[in-house]
Symmetry: D2
Amino acid sequence: MDEIQELTDRILAFREARDWKQFHTYKDVAISLVLEATELLEHFQWKSTQEVLDHMEGQKREIGEELADILYWVLLLSHDLDIDIKTAFLAKMEKNARKYPVEKARGTHKKIYRTL
Amino acid sequence: MDEIQELTDRILAFREARDWKQFHTYKDVAISLVLEATELLEHFQWKSTQEVLDHMEGQKREIGEELADILYWVLLLSHDLDIDIKTAFLAKMEKNARKYPVEKARGTHKKIYRTL
Amino acid sequence: MDEIQELTDRILAFREARDWKQFHTYKDVAISLVLEATELLEHFQWKSTQEVLDHMEGQKREIGEELADILYWVLLLSHDLDIDIKTAFLAKMEKNARKYPVEKARGTHKKIYRTL
Amino acid sequence: MDEIQELTDRILAFREARDWKQFHTYKDVAISLVLEATELLEHFQWKSTQEVLDHMEGQKREIGEELADILYWVLLLSHDLDIDIKTAFLAKMEKNARKYPVEKARGTHKKIYRTL
């Protein structure tokens, strides 16, 4: 079975067993995504890249959990909105490739990343 | 090949071709995750669930792109931090299952979702 | 003395006494603003407007603290960037008034709020 | 008249003239606060403190507008929730002073800032 479907099925089974779908409005789920993303960001605040590296060993499991939480909501919301996230991802990568052609984008900073 | 590795490889090839790794501090990448999550949230602001449904047809591709952007940064950051996101995800699901046992959590609102 | 200056002076004295300015890069301070804003948002997640009202009495002090935290960082960052926040605010209100003339904007939803 | 009341009155008159209160659920207003905070953060992403300083001249007005937008929502939400933001702010500063006594907090990094 496909991995993404496999992970999504895990989420759906978890939710179904607890009868939680009733609470999952799109808006509140999208808020969860933002909240989890900011929890992740908090790990890197007030730290230089070197300080992050120094603390990584102790924080790796915790940061992995934050990333897992974000993935959880991405997969759940994609499912609820009937969006095939893999197809959407590949389509976006094609779009990014057209938007940032290698010859122009190579090694260039600018504020291009934001609009990925 | 595994799907998650396949998508990650797409990201790494994209970045390598543009020589963008030099800009990807953990902090700035985590900021990207937050910014993309808020872009997604913006689609649901000032709308009821019904209004979201009414507008979904026109917005589905755009929302799919936002979800893809979030997934992009989740996979990229997991790679850079040497975190196996699938393993982290499955471990977190086990933890969630212990934290919210079916018999106690079933149909219960509370502020349990936040801490997923 | 002006109130905004008065509150700003409180912040600066607090920071000076603790010698914390050395940690306040713009980026990390802006991250604090986002983190505090999401803490506020968390109070309203998974709740209808009526449920918020029902819980307000117990949460009022806590929500007031979140709003105070946001104001703290707004005033601190304005100071550090040498931005007169009152002047900036009044200028923005003028701009908003031009952007949303009463005759056109009255009672209209649309996605106008976002761009305030 | 007090400055904070003066600015709040400007907001209320602006809103009243456009009949926009009907759209201002607490949740959506809190989302606005988050969205504006992330717009501010975006100005500092992918930039070192020095790069921010180099670009400040050109961005100062724009950053001032973002800060003004955040203040707008802080004052509006405080009003709607019947929270006296100045009182809440001063109470929070007292709490912060107790939480971070000068002798202990002076010059100390730690993750104390987050919980301000």
